[in-house]
Symmetry: C2
Subunit: 691 residues, 2 copies
C-alpha cells in the first residue's frame, strides 16, 4: 500500500513508521471495541527507536538465547507490543492485530508468555513485569559470570533487559522492592523506561502521586535520566545509549503525552482504557497526516523499514552462533552445560544422592529434611540456585558452599532477597522466564500471602519456580497467630496449575523435592514444619509420589474408618489407628501430601486409597478446614483450625486446639456412627413418619 | 527493690530506667525461652525518651480519643512494648511479662490489638504497621479537619502517631507504598523512627540492602533526620521535637546496636531472634552495672520515674475533657457527632434510603447497584469514607459530591490510594484502628491478592473495613486471564473472620451493603460484576440476609435437584430451572451470596434450604471449584473454572466455559442419576458380585 505522504528524508520515514505504530494501535483497539490505545500512541517513538536502533533480537527465532529481553510491565498497553511484533517480522500477522482481544486469538488483552511468539513475560498486574525484568537481568549476569570465559567476555551471554513501566508500576510495592534489589546487585543490564505521562485510570496521577521518582531510584543506587519530550527521537536514542553504557541499572524518565495526537483525549484518562471512537481516530489520523478513512494501513516503506529487523536479527544470531562455536571448541564442557541449562535439561543422576531417613535415627523437622534433599540435588545440579527472603537461617535453604550472589560474585548460588517476599516471587519468575536456571525462593508459609500475585503469574505462565515455605502451622509456636498459617494451604491449593506438597515426614520431604524438580507445568510449593516429626520407613511412604496413598493399612483390608492427614498431623492419625485397634476398630491411615497430584490419578487408584464404600472418614490438618469436604464428604469429620492460632509453645497449642491422637480416635468413632447409610436416617418415608 | 546503683544525678536515673527496660526484656525472653531481645536492648533509650518526654497517653484509659498512637511495626520486638506498658502503668503486670509468649497470657509473641491494653495494632508481618500508622495519621487529620472548629484548633483532635520500624519494614513494598501516600497527603503527624541497626535475621543487612533510606523518603516528600547514636538521649529528644514541628511526615534514622551491651552478640543476628542465654545475660547486666543474678529486677526509683506517666496521663485527659466540654458547649452537634463516630455508632435511619430495584427496569451490573447502595448510605452516614486504588471509575465507588481527600481538603470523603492496593489495605486497617470512621477500599477482585496480608490482619484484629471488589470473574471479558479472578473467592472465604458477599443481583447487592455496614467482627468484602445482570424482585431475594436461601422454589416443594449459585451465575440456575420444568423435573434454585453467614445459621434453617434428603445438587460459580463440595457433597456436580480464563468478550467466555442454563440443566439430569442411593451402586455385595 502507498504511503500517506511522500518520503523525502530519513526523518519523514521515521515519522511514517511511528505513525504506522500509532494508527495500527488505534485501529486494533477500536475494532476490538476494548483496550488501551493511549500509551501506544504516546510511546510509538520510543518503541520505534528501541526496536530499530537498540534491541538485538531475531524475529525468526524468538528463543535465540542471547537476545535482548523486553518486558512491558504496563501490560495493558500490549497493543504496542503486538504491533511491534507484527511490524518487525515475528509470527504475528496483521490479521492477528485485527482479532485483538478475541477468543482464540494470538493477541489477548494482556501479554501472555507461551501464547504469543516474542512475548517474554505475562504482565498486566502492575509492578510484576518490573520484578520479572530484575530477575531476567539477574539471570543474564549469573549466566555470564558462569559461562563467559573471562570477565568482560561477550560469549555466550551478553544482552540487555529492556523494560517499559508506567506510573502504576512504579507505585506498586513489588516494583519498589525489586528496584531496591536491582540497585543492591548493581544489575547494569536493566534499561527501564518510565512512562511519565502524569495520567492514571482515575485522572491526573497527581491525585495520589507526586513523589520524585528519579530521586527515589537514585536512592536505590540506580542511574537515572530524563527525556522531556517523548517525540524527540535523538534524545531517546541518546538516553538509551547512555543507559547501556552505565554500570548501574538505568531508569529513563520519559515525559510523554497519553493519546498523543487525539485532539479531545490527549493527556486525559479518556485515552487510557477505552477505544478513542471513530471520530476521534479520524481527527488523530488527520493530525498525523494520515488518510483519515484508512484502517490498518501499513505503508510499504514503513513495513520495509521495520522488517530490516529480520535481516539484522539473522545476522545477530549468525554472528553469535559463530562465536559460540568458537567458544564451544575452546571450552566444550562449558558450552554443553550452557546449552543444557538453557534447555532446562537436568544432569544425569541428579537425584541419585537423595537422602533416605530411618525411623530409628529419631524425629526430624521436614525443614531439615528439605535442606538435606535440596543439598543432595544441588550438589549434582549446578543450575539449581535460590535463597530466602531473609529467613534462610529458619527456612534451612542455604546451599552448602554455594556462596552468596552479590554484585561481585554473580557466579555463586545463594540469593539474598532481603525482606522482600513479593520481589522474590516476581524475580524468581524472571529467572525462570529467562531460562538457564532452576530457581527456588523461601520464606515462612504465612508470607506466601505477600508473594501471591507473583505465584499466580507463575501458575498462569506455566513456569516452575520452587517455593520452600516453612513454619507451616501453629506448630511454629510462640510467634503466635500473626505468623501461623491457617488459610494459606487452602488458598494455594485453589490456584490452577499450582502444586502444593506438604510432606508428613523426612522421607516424604525427599520425595517431594524429587517431584518438584521433575515438575514442569507451573510452580511448586514445598511446605515444611519447624518442629520435629517422627520418620516413617522409606518403603512405607513410597506412595507419596502419587500425591496420596495408604500409609498404614488396617489388618483386614476392610477399614471401618479412614483417617486422612497431611504433614505433621499424620502422626496423630497413626496414633489414633493404634488407639482404635485396641478397641477392635480397623482404621486406615491415608497421607495426602499433594491434593492436585492425587486428584490427577485415575479413579481406580483413588478409589483404592479412599474406597467409596467407606464413608466414615476423618481428616486432620492444622489449617483451615476449607476444602476438606472433597475427601471426607458431607458425613465425615474435619479436624482443623476454625480460628486463628495463638502464641504458646507448639505442643501446648496442638493439645489445646485438638490435634491429638485421642481426638482423632474419638472423631473416628463419631464418624463411623454418622456414616450409617444415609437412607436409613433420612429416607423420605421416614421423614414423613416423623412429621 | 533497691536500685543497683546510687542515683546521684538525673542522668543516673535515666540510665537506671533504660537499663530496667533492657534487663526486663532480656529476662522475659530468656524465661519464655523464645523471642527477640536485641531490639529492645538497642532501643530502650528511644523508648524511654518517647514514653517519658514526648508521647501523650493515659495508662488508666487506653481508649482516650486524643491519645498519641504508637505502632511497633517491628512487632517481633514486642517485649519492648510490653515492658513499657507495664512500667508506665497500663494494665500489664510484671507477672504478665513473666508469662511472655505463653498460652493465655496478655503478652503474646507479637502485639495483638484487642488482646493487650495499650496495643494499638496487631503487627509482626513486616511493613503492615507502617501502613497502619499512615492510616491512623490520616484518620487523625481527617477528624481534625471535620471537627476542630477552626483551622489549627487543637480540640477535639490533636495528636501524633509514633512508629518504630526496622530494616525489614522499610524493605517491604507495602511500607514503600504507604510512605509515598503519606508524603503525597503531607501527613505531618507521623513520627517514624527507623531502627538502622544494619542487621537482619540472616546477617548484616548489607547482604541484600544498601539503599539510602533517607534519600528515598526525601523523594516521597518526607522530612528526614538522623541520630547516629541510639544512646544519645539529647539527640533523640531533639530529633523527636524537630519531627513534631515539621509539617511533613518525619523519618528519624536512628543508628542503633542490636543487643547493645551483650559482649558476644551485640551487632550480630544472634541477638535478633533468640534468647541471649543465661551467661550472656549476666555479662550484659555486668556491662550495664546491674546485679548479675537479679532477674526481673525493677528498681523502685526507676518504677517511680516511669509511673509519673499515670499522673501525667490523667492530667492530659482531664485537660482535654475540660476543653472538650467547652467545645461541646459551643458546638454541641459537632461534639455529639464526634463522640458517636469515635464510638462507631451509626446515625438513626442510616439505611432508610437504600434502593430497591425492579426487574422491569432492566438488567444492572452489581457494581452499579453497589454504587447506588453505597451512596444511599453515605448520604446519611458521614463517617463512611473511602476510595479506590486508582479504579474508582471502574469500581463505581465515588461518593457523590464527596470531594477528594487531599493535603488541603482532609475534611472530604473520597480517598485516592493510587495504584497501591497493599497500602490501601494497611491504611484502611489504620483508619479503623484509630476509630472515627467506617472506611472502604476498592479494586478489582483479582487485586485482592495484592492486599491479602492486610486483609488477614483485619480479620485477625476483628476490625471491619469494607472492600468493594468488582470485575469479579471471567465476566470482565477482554482484559483476559491476568485480570479474571478464579481462586480469589475460595481464598478469601478460607480466611477466618472474613465475610465475603457475592450478590446475585442489584437487590442482593443492596442487602449486602446493609449487612456490611452492620457487621462488626472482621472485614467484609462485597464482590460485584462488571457486566449487567437480571434483577429479581426485592421480595424474592430477602433471604439473602441469611447468607443463602431459596430464590426460586419448585412447584411441588419437593425438589428432584437443587441448583446452587452465587453472583452472576444464579441467572443460569433460574434458566435451567425453566428448562428442567419443561421436562417435568422440579428444580430448586438456591442463591448463596455469603457462605460464612449461611453456615452460621441454625441446622434447621440450613436443612430447609438444602434438604439433606436431596443429594442431587449442582453448583455453578465462575470461579475455582475449590470448596464447593461443602454444599454439593461427593455425589453432586460442580460447575466452575478448572483453569485460568481467557481474553474475549464476556458472553463468549461464559458460553465457551460452560456457564449456560443448558449446561446447568444437563448437569442437573446427571446429578439426579448419580444421586441414586449410594448403596444401590456400591454396596460391598455388589462389588464382590462384579469382581
Amino acid at each position: 500500500m502507498k504511503a500517506p505522504a511522500a518520503i523525502s528524508s530519513p526523518s519523514d520515514l521515521d515519522q511514517l513508521c511511528i505513525n504506522t505504530i500509532r494508527t495500527l494501535s488505534m485501529d486494533a483497539v477500536q475494532k476490538a471495541n476494548s483496550g488501551h490505545p493511549g500509551t501506544a500512541m504516546a510511546l510509538a517513538p520510543l518503541a520505534y527507536v528501541m526496536w530499530t536502533r537498540h534491541m538485538r533480537y531475531n524475529p525468526a527465532n524468538p528463543q535465540w538465547p542471547d537476545r535482548d529481553r523486553f518486558v512491558l510491565s504496563a501490560g495493558h498497553a500490549c497493543i504496542l507490543q503486538y504491533v511491534m511484533l507484527y511490524l518487525t517480522g515475528y509470527d504475528v500477522s496483521l490479521d492477528d492485530l485485527k482479532s485483538f482481544r478475541q477468543w482464540g486469538s494470538k493477541t489477548p488483552g494482556h501479554p501472555e508468555y507461551g501464547h504469543t511468539p516474542g512475548i517474554e513475560a505475562t504482565t498486566g498486574p502492575l509492578g510484576q513485569g518490573f520484578g520479572n525484568a530484575v530477575g531476567m537481568a539477574l539471570a543474564e549476569r549469573m549466566l555470564a559470570a558462569r559461562f563467559n570465559k573471562s570477565p568482560g567476555a561477550a560469549v555466550p551471554v551478553n544482552h540487555f533487559t529492556y523494560l517499559i513501566c508506567s506510573d502504576g508500576d512504579v507505585m506498586e510495592g513489588v516494583a519498589s522492592e525489586a528496584a531496591s534489589l536491582a540497585g543492591h546487585l548493581q544489575l547494569g543490564r536493566i534499561i527501564a523506561v518510565y512512562d511519565d505521562n502524569r495520567i492514571t485510570l482515575d485522572g491526573p496521577s497527581a491525585l495520589s502521586f507526586n513523589e520524585d521518582v528519579c530521586e527515589r531510584f537514585n536512592a536505590y543506587g540506580w542511574h537515572t535520566l530524563a527525556v522531556e519530550d517523548a517525540n524527540d527521537l535523538d534524545a531517546i536514542d541518546a538516553a538509551l545509549t547512555a543507559a547501556k553504557g552505565d554500570p548501574r541499572p538505568s531508569l529513563i524518565r520519559l515525559r510523554s503525552h497519553i493519546g498523543y495526537g487525539a485532539p479531545h483525549k490527549q493527556d486525559t484518562n479518556a485515552a487510557h482504557g477505552e477505544p478513542l471512537g471513530a471520530d476521534e481516530i479520524k481527527l488523530a489520523k488527520k493530525f498525523y497526516g494520515w488518510p483519515e478513512d484508512a484502517q490498518f494501513l501499513v505503508p510499504d516503506e514503513a513495513l520495509a523499514q521495520f522488517r530490516t529487523a529480520v535481516e539484522r536479527g539473522a545476522k545477530y544470531e549468525t554472528e553469535w552462533r559463530k562465536e559460540f562455536d568458537a567458544f564451544s571448541g575452546a571450552a566444550p564442557d562449558l558450552a554443553r552445560t550452557f546449552t543444557a541449562q538453557i534447555a532446562g535439561e537436568r544432569p544425569a543422576g541428579w537425584g541419585d544422592g537423595l537422602p533416605a531417613f530411618k525411623p530409628e535415627d529419631g524425629p526430624i523437622a521436614t525443614r531439615d529434611a528439605s535442606n538435606k534433599a535440596l543439598n543432595a540435588i544441588a550438589a549434582k545440579m549446578p543450575a539449581l540456585v535460590g535463597g530466602a527472603a531473609d529467613l534462610a537461617t529458619s527456612n534451612k535453604t542455604d546451599i552448602k558452599d554455594g556462596g552468596s550472589i552479590e554484585a561481585g560474585s554473580l557466579g555463586d548460588r545463594i540469593l539474598h532477597f532481603g525482606v522482600r517476599e513479593h520481589a522474590m516471587g516476581a524475580a524468581l519468575n524472571g529467572i525462570m522466564l529467562h531460562h538457564g536456571f532452576r530457581a527456588f525462593g523461601a520464606t515462612f508459609l504465612i508470607f506466601s500471602d505477600y508473594m501471591r500475585p507473583s505465584i499466580r503469574l507463575a501458575a498462569l505462565s506455566r513456569i516452575n519456580p520452587i517455593y520452600v515455605w516453612t513454619h507451616d502451622s501453629i506448630g511454629l509456636g510462640e510467634d503466635g497467630p500473626t505468623h501461623q498459617s491457617i488459610e494459606q494451604l487452602a488458598s494455594l491449593r485453589a490456584i490452577p496449575n499450582m502444586t502444593v506438597f506438604r510432606p508428613a515426614d523426612a522421607n516424604e520431604a525427599a520425595i517431594c523435592w524429587r517431584l518438584a524438580i521433575e515438575h514442569k507445568d507451573g510452580p511448586v510449593g514445598i511446605v515444611c514444619t519447624r518442629q520435629k516429626l517422627p520418620v516413617y520407613s522409606a518403603e512405607s511412604v513410597r506412595g507419596a509420589e502419587r500425591g496420596g496413598y495408604v500409609l498404614s493399612r488396617e489388618a483386614s483390608d476392610d477399614p471401618a474408618v479412614i483417617l486422612i492427614g497431611t504433614g505433621s498431623e499424620v502422626q496423630w492419625c497413626i496414633g489414633a489407628q493404634k488407639l482404635l485397634k485396641e478397641k477392635g476398630v480397623h482404621a486406615r491411615v491415608v497421607s495426602l501430601p499433594c491434593w492436585s497430584l492425587f486428584d490427577a490419578q485415575d479413579q481406580a487408584y483413588r478409589d483404592s486409597v479412599l474406597p467409596p464404600s467407606v464413608t466414615a472418614r476423618v481428616s486432620i490438618e492444622a489449617a483451615a478446614t476449607f476444602g476438606w469436604e472433597r475427601y471426607v464428604g458431607l458425613t465425615g469429620t474435619i479436624i482443623g483450625m476454625r480460628r486463628f492460632g495463638a502464641s504458646a509453645p507448639a505442643d501446648i497449642l496442638f493439645k489445646e486446639f485438638g490435634f491429638t491422637a485421642e481426638h482423632v480416635a474419638e472423631a473416628a468413632v463419631t464418624a463411623i456412627e454418622k456414616s450409617k447409610p444415609y437412607t436409613e436416617i433420612y429416607s423420605p418415608i421416614q421423614r414423613k413418619n416423623k412429621e
